[in-house]
Amino acid sequence: MTLRKLWWWTSLIMLSFLLTSMFFHSAEGEQKQVWIRHGNKWDKDNSHGAIFNVYGQVSGATPSSALASRQSTFSQSLSTDQSSQIPLQASGVIEPWIHFSITGTRLDWFVRKPGAYAMKGASLTIESNTSVLVDFDGFGNLTNSENPDKSIQTFYGIEQPAAPIGQVSWIKASDLNSSDRFLIFSESSPSTTLDLWNLIFVSQSNSSCEYEDDAYITLTVQNLSTWIELGNNQLVDNK
């Protein structure tokens, strides 16, 4: 009696596993371990930087349905001979990615005397495999912390690296908000650096005080797939 029960439960578990496996393979494919290269060795990649699925696994000489994925940017078919042709298709999706760095996100001026002063405040470097929109928001004159009606006139300049200060085109701070940059990258120019210059006019009428402006720069990656969760860098279907 005990052996019969054991056999019955074992059969039930195996049947469930078989059905689940068949369904998984046919509908979603089988997710395989992805390996990432670090120097001269391979490590298991569990960071979800990439996923790899195999669909429609077959055995023997029976032609199978094609391996498939939802999106394809490249594909390849292989065959052995005419009599036993097994169509194989490898497909992959390369998602738009961005790597950026900015040398500083806070500028501190210490001013002893009235005058017009300028500095190269930050360098923004962007690498991507697609186009990127650089959007400036919230830029304005530096405002007196005690009297918001009083401010220091502020200008910015966005220039290529190594541009001398004499060639900087100064943009009124508030006008910078409508001076977005659309950067297009290609294999021949995969990165761009922009120097952010800052000019302030401290006038004789500016009282001794702290002056500040908070702003932000938004980088928007273009042509993103629907299965990248917005703003979270996870492989999630957003449909």
Binding site: T105, R106, D108, G166, S205, C209
Partner: protein, 233 residues
């Protein structure tokens, strides 16, 4: 001939007055110092890096990096300026010399004083007194002195309350509040009146006094002794 010598030494000192407003940048600042350029006419002049006497210095901090497939990256950006209090003043003379031949009351427009600043300024007086006999013996050992702040070209009327006895000048604390007029510069004349009596012997008479200009807002990154930047350490 009677000859009087009046000496007024106007020593101007800048005293530390720590008063903070807003949220000042930390000193030493975080981040990296960058080269600052100053516009002179149509040309830029480099102020270099690390000069405690520079008119302005700048630092950049809080770098950021991102590496992902995210669609949006928001980079918060902050620009902050800490403006120190400055003062520019001039005085037409710090020594006054009377030469008196006969007893009598005499008045003169002794000095002109201008001051400009970008915050409250305190004017303090110390050591003012009647002129003191400098020799030995003598009959009446002092010459009474009065002062008046008066911007007209003729002195205040002799009996006017504008005339303040010298000794009452001491401890006077004249606060000039921050104003647009102060930023552009205020001017004042200080009149001086002496009454030489018949009992004043022929001799030299003198008084030494001090006027102190106090800036009311010294930023923590300013060395109050020199007015320059504090060291970064």
């Amino acid at each position: 001939m009677k000859k009087l010598l009046i000496l007024l030494a106007g020593a101007i000192l800048l005293l530390p007055a720590f008063a903070f407003a807003g949220n000042p940048s930390p000193w030493p600042p975080i981040g990296t110092e960058v080269e600052v350029f100053q516009l002179e006419g149509d040309a830029w002049r480099s102020l270099g890096i690390g000069d405690p006497g520079a008119f302005a210095r700048a630092f950049t901090s809080l770098p950021a990096v991102g590496d992902s497939n995210r669609q949006f990256w928001r980079i918060d950006f902050q620009n902050h300026a800490s403006v120190a209090q400055w003062v520019r003043w001039s005085i037409t003379g710090t020594r006054w010399d009377w030469f008196v031949r006969k007893p009598g009351c005499y008045a003169a427009d002794c000095i002109g004083f201008t001051i400009a600043s970008n915050y409250d300024v305190d004017i303090l007086y110390a050591g003012f007194d009647d002129l003191l006999y400098q020799g030995t013996g003598g009959v009446t050992l002092t010459i009474p002195v009065w002062y008046a702040t008066w911007n007209l070209g003729t002195p205040p009327p002799p009996a006017s309350d504008e005339w303040i006895p010298a000794a009452l000048m001491n401890g006077k604390d004249i606060l000039i509040p921050d104003s647009e007029q102060l930023h552009q510069g205020l001017s004042a004349k200080l009149w001086n009146k002496i009454c030489v009596q018949q009992s004043n012997s022929a001799c030299e008479y003198e008084d030494d006094a001090v006027v102190v200009i106090e800036l009311k807002r010294i930023k923590p990154w300013i060395d109050p002794e020199t007015g320059y930047f504090r060291p970064l350490q």
